[in-house]
Assembly symmetry: C2
Homo-oligomer: 376 residues x 2
């Protein structure tokens, strides 16, 4: 195996496959990145128990003298490529388990792992895919993934539920205290599916989609889903089990609706949270919202040890409905607000002990729901 390659291209592709390296594994071969040098391209593969990633580097940035395949320790290779400043890097297999990497006046000899030990990774693209714009999918992740459960108490809630039916993709995440829901109309047809993708896989995928303008194709397989992008494959396992039916917890009637300027509300909530006591269950700060008779909204927190905070916010336009008092974890509202593109948002209340719903005027088909907490 002998080839030379553009350093910037290699580094950027290594940083993509890096997201498939395990942080800890009983199978040390997975610490390696698999290099397959073919006649006119190079394929890099990484995999762990959750995801598998493959990228293709074509002949425009690589010149190949001799084909072959090797397994190179991933983290060392990436550190070396980061620190190298020359434009071009040469790779040559000199012994069975030794590769030489040359760049200007630098020379590294890396001990290889046995490439025959590298487990076969199947990237399955048998079915008709659904097709989305990269940035649309990245946005779905941003709008829902934060609302998944972080604890493993109910494992199914640690992923985002994607349901496809009649050209619509329905995406839902909930940790049972709050819920985020986004619906997207698609250009393409496909057969129905109902899957749950782990939140960590979506985090990694989101970074890979950064800056991409291409389409992404989703191939749904029984236990996994493959995301196919230009020159990049990203495959993740799915969570097993049935996702709860969340439609029934979203209220349908809202006697109170208050419009806010998002930034103003966000800043007020963050200030009020500074002193607020923490919820025993979630460790999040509890704050109170109080719509007064004069249609000014008070946000407040009371902490017997530290002190009190009070903010007055003037709704950005007409308020609908009677006065209301409700308490909730400020963190949930902050997370929800930050996911909106809109600067005008509307909070709809179904009652003082019922979940409330947040929408943005520019964020079509995006809804966040937060459960209140009972206070004295």
């Amino acid at each position: 195996m002998i080839f030379s390659i553009d350093r910037d291209v290699l580094l950027s592709q290594l940083l993509t496959v890096q997201k498939g390296l395990p942080s800890k594994t009983p199978l040390p071969i997975l610490y390696a990145i698999k290099f397959e040098v073919n006649e006119d391209h190079l394929i890099l593969t990484s995999s762990n128990t959750d995801v598998a990633i493959q990228v293709l580097i074509d002949v425009s940035s690589i010149s190949i003298q001799k084909t072959g395949k090797v397994a190179i320790p991933g983290r060392y290779l990436i550190e070396i490529m980061r620190k190298i400043t020359s434009k071009r890097v040469e790779f040559a297999l000199i012994e069975d388990h030794l590769i030489v990497i040359k760049a200007d006046r630098s020379e590294f000899k890396l001990r290889l792992m046995d490439v025959e030990d590298y487990p076969e990774v199947d990237f399955l693209d048998l079915d008709d895919p659904i097709v989305l714009d990269s940035q649309v999918f990245k946005n779905i992740i941003k709008e829902t993934n934060f609302a998944t459960a972080q604890s493993e108490k109910r494992p199914i809630l640690t992923g985002v539920n994607f349901k496809y039916k009649d050209n619509y993709l329905y995406c839902v995440a909930t940790d049972s205290y709050r819920l985020s829901q986004k619906n997207v109309k698609l250009r393409t047809h496909s057969k129905e599916f109902d899957i749950v993708i782990p939140n960590k896989s979506l985090d990694e995928l989101s970074k890979i989609l950064d800056g991409s303008t291409d389409d992404v194709e989703l191939y749904i397989n029984p236990n996994k889903v493959l995301f196919k992008m230009k020159n990049t494959l990203f495959q993740t396992r799915l969570l097993e089990g049935n996702y709860p039916d969340t439609m029934r917890i979203i209220p349908t009637e809202f006697p109170v609706a208050i419009p806010f300027n998002k930034e103003e509300l966000l800043q007020a909530v963050e200030r009020v949270s500074l002193l607020s006591p923490r919820d025993r269950e979630t460790n999040y700060n509890i704050i109170k919202l109080n719509l007064r008779e004069d249609h000014i909204v008070e946000m407040s927190s009371t902490n017997s040890e530290v002190g009190d905070a009070l903010e007055e916010i003037i709704p950005s336009s007409d308020v609908i409905g009677p006065v209301i008092k409700i308490a909730f974890s400020s963190r949930y509202l902050v997370d929800a607000l930050k996911s909106f593109s809109s600067n005008e948002i509307l909070i709809q209340f179904a009652g003082e002990v019922k979940p409330f719903v947040i929408k943005g005027n520019l964020d079509q088909e995006l809804l966040h729901l937060i459960l209140p907490v009972r206070i004295d």
Copy 2:
């Protein structure tokens, strides 16, 4: 106590006194910042077992209705000031232990600590000070403090030794594996002193000196030193004990001298260190330097598990002396190189098992010394 104050000025002064708040203390009153509102100025004080800090805010940014003094919980107050966006903030003591802070439509009520419990802090400025430019002193810290010991095995080495004699300030730091020494000629006379300032205090002081263009006056007291700047006092305890005589370990004759471009050397050292094994005692990476007959310098590392790295560096001008091979912790060389302003540096070798010395052409009276390690 009633006053209003410019928010930006207060925040910036709070961030200075914050450096005197303890991270943990058996004396909870020290978590407070002491506010003393006088007729025409406000004084803020913080203190812990190592340092005490006091700042003065004058009438140009504060308007005082009623004088008084209080102890306000420091971290909460700073968080609030960070999040407030209004230009002006009002403070009013409404009960014995409650202060109201108002800014636009925000209102905070903070429970106070008993200001009478706040320990008296003496800032002693009895003696003739020595006077330095702030940035000169900040530079001394940058050039020496990193070489102090981090472990408490020999407590005296966890500080920088400042010795004053005949208008010269001699500054030395060593962790017994490497040493940094800077000499500065002063404008002012003073009586002789020989003190050791804790490295953590110097770190905090360095941040406070950031961007300052004023002079700083040093008042040396038996157990502490006071740094007096415009409107800011910073006092730190001194380390007790005799600082070792370091002059005798600096070689005086150097048969080999190699000039380098600093950036080139730094990058090569960082790359070679990526694979190098770690020293058992210090956990730092050991690398080898080899001056060849042809006057090219090889830097290399060998790691039986991972692989080898080799860099060739061409000295930036004429080399003096015969071939030499020497091994050392790369981290020490990286630290030393980063402290130089010069881009041309000179490494002088006294022998393969003797300390070597690094100097920069633009860094007058600055010297770094590194002990080699024995290798096979």
